[in-house]
């Protein structure tokens, strides 16, 4: 594993509005993409402001590139900031040409353009900026403006790129296309990225590591798999998109398999360790649920968890259709529209749902 380029400990910031930010511990490895997700007002943007020293912290420690950056007396803030780049949620461009905006960071940091000419040409090409260069930044669309902001930040070749929901104001279609290109560039250039987003699907696609913030508190950090598969609490589970959360009691736990009773007749099996009688929450990701049309087909499945249920709701969520199944407990499942037609699924139809024990998490 690479070195930690950013390490935050016991960071506190209190605002007169009553909001407080408390980060016990957070780290970002070099050349990785760390994504912070959380609801509105959870303090995600504040954290970026603190890391970039745009607002002062009340206490705690932020070590960036081996340097304690909250120690104002012993650091040159401008110099430290010179190793970072920030892109805000709304595109922030100055009232000049796109080209001047692109070069502004280099100019302010006294970096010779000649040393970055290849990078500039590469970004202009890859992000399709050539036709925009002579235009006034104010005449661009929101998406184009944000492209310029992102290109300007990457051009600085920062040791960490701080992105505060930069794609939030771009329409869905452009966003997906642009995201692919943009994150490809970041990976290619190995730029450490601290990325804030509301969109958990985006976080799932692009991240190496994920953090979940709620009410100013960092609830969980870890690898993408860890956070999305094994949330530490109900709030994190909801924020990472786990729709099926069932409370139960451990009936038995042996050989790495925990059997949880979720109601009188229903048991759920999960891979893990626990103690008999412990009250637990069972979380099942909707994409891990397999829908089976008839009883006969279930015989050939190896999974321990096969639930009989009735479809109570079918919802279109865009990419997938979401089924709400009443199995004695509510179970959500994602399925394609083609599968719905193929299996002839409709409301009130009886079906079977299978989930591998290894895909079920208890906490």
């Amino acid at each position: 594993m690479a070195d930690k380029i950013l390490e935050i400990k016991n960071l506190k910031k209190h605002f007169s509005t009553g909001f407080s930010l408390n980060i016990d511990y957070l780290y970002v490895y070099e050349s990785t993409i760390f994504t912070l997700i959380g609801s509105n007002g959870s303090g995600k943007s504040t954290l970026i402001y603190l890391i970039n020293m745009l607002i002062p912290a009340d206490s705690g420690s932020i070590v960036f590139d081996g340097q304690e950056i909250l120690d104002k007396k012993n650091i040159n803030q401008k110099e430290v900031r010179g190793k970072m780049a920030v892109v805000f949620q709304e595109p922030i461009l100055f009232n000049t040409s796109v080209y001047s905006n692109l070069l502004l960071g280099l100019k302010l940091r006294k970096i010779r353009l000649e040393d970055y000419k290849d990078d500039l040409d590469f970004l202009i090409d890859t992000l399709k900026l050539k036709n925009l260069l002579t235009r006034s930044s104010k005449t661009l669309s929101g998406g184009e403006q944000q492209k310029v902001c992102l290109a300007r930040a990457i051009l600085l070749n920062p040791k960490i790129l701080l992105l505060d929901e930069p794609l939030a104001n771009i329409d869905q279609e452009t966003r997906e296309e642009f995201r692919e290109v943009f994150f490809e560039i970041l990976k290619q250039k190995k730029i450490t990225t601290f990325y804030i987003t509301h969109d958990r699907n985006e976080a799932m696609i692009i991240s190496d590591f994920v953090g979940v913030m709620e009410n100013g508190i960092l609830q969980q950090t870890g690898s993408r798999e860890e956070v999305f598969r094994r949330p530490v609490n109900e709030r994190v589970a909801k924020l990472v998109g786990i729709e099926t959360l069932i409370s139960g009691v451990v009936a038995s736990a042996s050989d790495g398999v925990v059997k949880v009773r979720v109601n009188d007749n229903t048991y759920i099996y999960a891979v893990g360790e626990s103690i008999n009688g412990k009250k637990v929450m069972v979380s099942i990701r909707p994409e891990d649920v397999i829908i089976i049309g008839s009883d006969a087909e279930t015989a050939s499945l190896s999974t321990l968890n096969i639930f009989r249920g009735r479809i109570s709701e079918i919802k279109n969520t865009g990419l997938f259709m979401k089924l709400e199944i009443d199995c004695g407990f509510p179970l959500a499942a994602y399925i394609t529209n083609a599968s719905i037609n193929r299996l002839g699924l409709r409301i009130d139809r009886e079906i079977f749902a299978a989930v591998k024990a290894s895909a079920i998490h208890i906490f």
Binding site: I92, F94, L108, T134, S136
Partner: protein, 239 residues
């Protein structure tokens, strides 16, 4: 009606005959209000900019003072300056009363708050994140201020226009501190008042027409600069 037409006719005759008295009044008006606008611009723009861009204790009070100053009656400004420069006043020893210099001072007192107030309001409307973005891109305080100033330069031009318009057309202050002395401190507005009092409406109309043309010409130039700034990007090509 006859009086008006006669007045207008007389006015054009006075203007195009190159009357020395009229020209003298015109040049003094331009000199006094021009210098006063430049000084007010040098005071008002930085003041409005600093107050608008920074948060500090007393910002609200200072802003209230500036806003009050924007509505300062010229007569009050004239009286205040007259008291300061009167022979027995604190600056009486300078002997500046009834000179163009003290008229300039009075006009600076009137125009500076107007320019500062409009600049302050313009800076206040600039997205606060521009400041943060400039800092995060590596700007020091001076560079950041310059970048923000460039964003506010068009509204700053409006502030200059408003300041100039406020002083070239005022009569109270220059009348009090200048005394409307013929050939010395008589400007277009005070001269027009004098002519009306004397019943010389032709001359008064001539002076007012000159005043209007002057105000229009200067504002037209400033508007052209404003418009050119907006259109600049449509004619500038990157090579």
């Amino acid at each position: 009606m006859g009086l008006i037409f006669e007045g207008i006719k007389e006015a054009f005759t006075l203007i195009f005959s190159g009357d020395k008295v009229i020209l003298g009044i015109l040049f003094l008006t331009i000199r006094v209000s021009g210098i006063a606008t430049i000084i007010s611009m040098m005071l008002g723009i930085p003041l409005g900019f600093v107050v608008g861009l920074n948060n500090f204790h007393g910002k609200r009070i200072l802003t209230s003072f500036i806003n009050t100053g924007m509505g300062l009656p010229p007569v009050a400004a004239g009286l205040f300056i007259a008291l300061l420069f009167w022979r027995s006043g604190p600056f009486g020893f300078l002997g500046m009363m009834y000179t163009p210099t003290v008229m300039i001072i009075a006009q600076v007192v009137i125009a500076s708050p107007i320019i500062a107030g409009i600049t302050l309001s313009a800076v206040g409307q600039i997205n606060p994140k521009l400041k943060l973005q400039a800092i995060s891109l590596g700007a020091n305080r001076i560079q950041m201020s310059w970048l923000i100033f460039k964003e506010a330069k068009l509204p700053a031009l409006s502030a200059i226009m408003a300041g100039f318009g406020g002083i070239i057309s005022e009569v109270g202050a220059v009348m009090i501190v200048g005394g409307n002395i013929k050939g010395s401190t008589r400007v277009l507005t005070t001269a027009a008042v004098q002519m009306v009092r004397m019943g010389d409406f032709s001359s008064a109309i001539a002076l007012v027409i000159i005043l209007l043309v002057l105000v229009f010409a200067i504002n037209f130039v400033l508007t052209l600069i404003q418009q050119k700034e907006k259109e600049k990007w449509q004619i500038k090509y990157w090579k």
